[in-house]
């Protein structure tokens, strides 16, 4: 079901400094939202923190994910004008009565 993304990507890591440490990065990348949302057990949180401390790339990854979530949280929402609010109410009531 899941496509192997790797086959689509030709770009390979240019440096070998980042070892995936037996899949630890992969494992951690799956947990980063739960990590940001503080939903993980202390044990797993500790493991992730230790990994982040030792792995600048994952550290940067989580920083950009945090920024993304912050932007979503603070993104302004449009507001209806009082006129639009009243007009819409009339339309809804008219439609409710018509059907």
């Amino acid at each position: 079901m899941v496509k192997r993304a790797v086959t689509k990507r030709r770009r390979r890591p240019e440096s070998t400094s980042h070892q995936h440490e037996g899949g630890r990065c992969l494992h951690i990348l799956r947990e980063l939202s739960a990590f940001i949302d503080d939903e993980l057990s202390n044990n797993i949180c500790g493991e992730i923190r230790r990994h982040l401390g030792a792995c600048p790339r994952c550290e940067e990854f989580v920083a950009s994910l945090r920024q993304t979530v912050s932007l979503c949280r603070r993104s302004p929402a449009p507001v209806l004008s009082p006129n639009d609010r009243a007009r819409m109410r009339e339309k809804i009531l008219a439609a409710a009565r018509a059907r």
Binding site: R12, T68, R73, P78, M88, L93
Partner: protein, 209 residues
Amino acid sequence: MAPSRQSHSSDGHPASSHGEADTFDALYRDNIDLMYRYASRLCGETEAAKDLVQETFLNAYRGFKNFRGDAQISTWLYTIASRACLRMRRRRKGAPERELSLDEFIPTSDGEFRLQIPVEGLNPEDALQNKQLREALDTAIGKLPKKYKMALVLRDMEGLSAKEVGAIMGLSERAVKSRLHRARLFVRRELSARGLAEDTVSHQGKSIT
């Protein structure tokens, strides 16, 4: 669970003898801004958002007598709006819903780990003063397949808990969290790769199509 009908007691109980119109007015007045905000975030443009709000309140008007009061009114309305949104989009487009594979987001290069969102040194409010960034965020959210978009909008923009989002979308908390994570990873990649300020963004990352 909190019997939220009581939250409308300032204008009488919604099912009181004031009649349907009064009941509707209380419901409308208390929730119109919330629903318009949600609809705008889901639809991305004004007219579609207004259509969705109208459809939502029309369905709420008709369905109020069936509302059992075992959920908050806002949760009930979010649910109606979400279902209406799924129906409206299907009618208009009929494009199949894409799955976002987690593998799609697993970085395979240094550049992909290090995609930067150009908000360095700014708090989110200040960063969002930047029109390009705001537009890129809206565009990224707009590109999300809708079941991921709903999870992201409800959780990260409307501020609901994973449990509430699960109730609205008919999903387990676990499924909500999984969708949310993929949605966030998608938006992160879109935002960074958009090159909001072309000169400040590294182009090491692969381009997104």
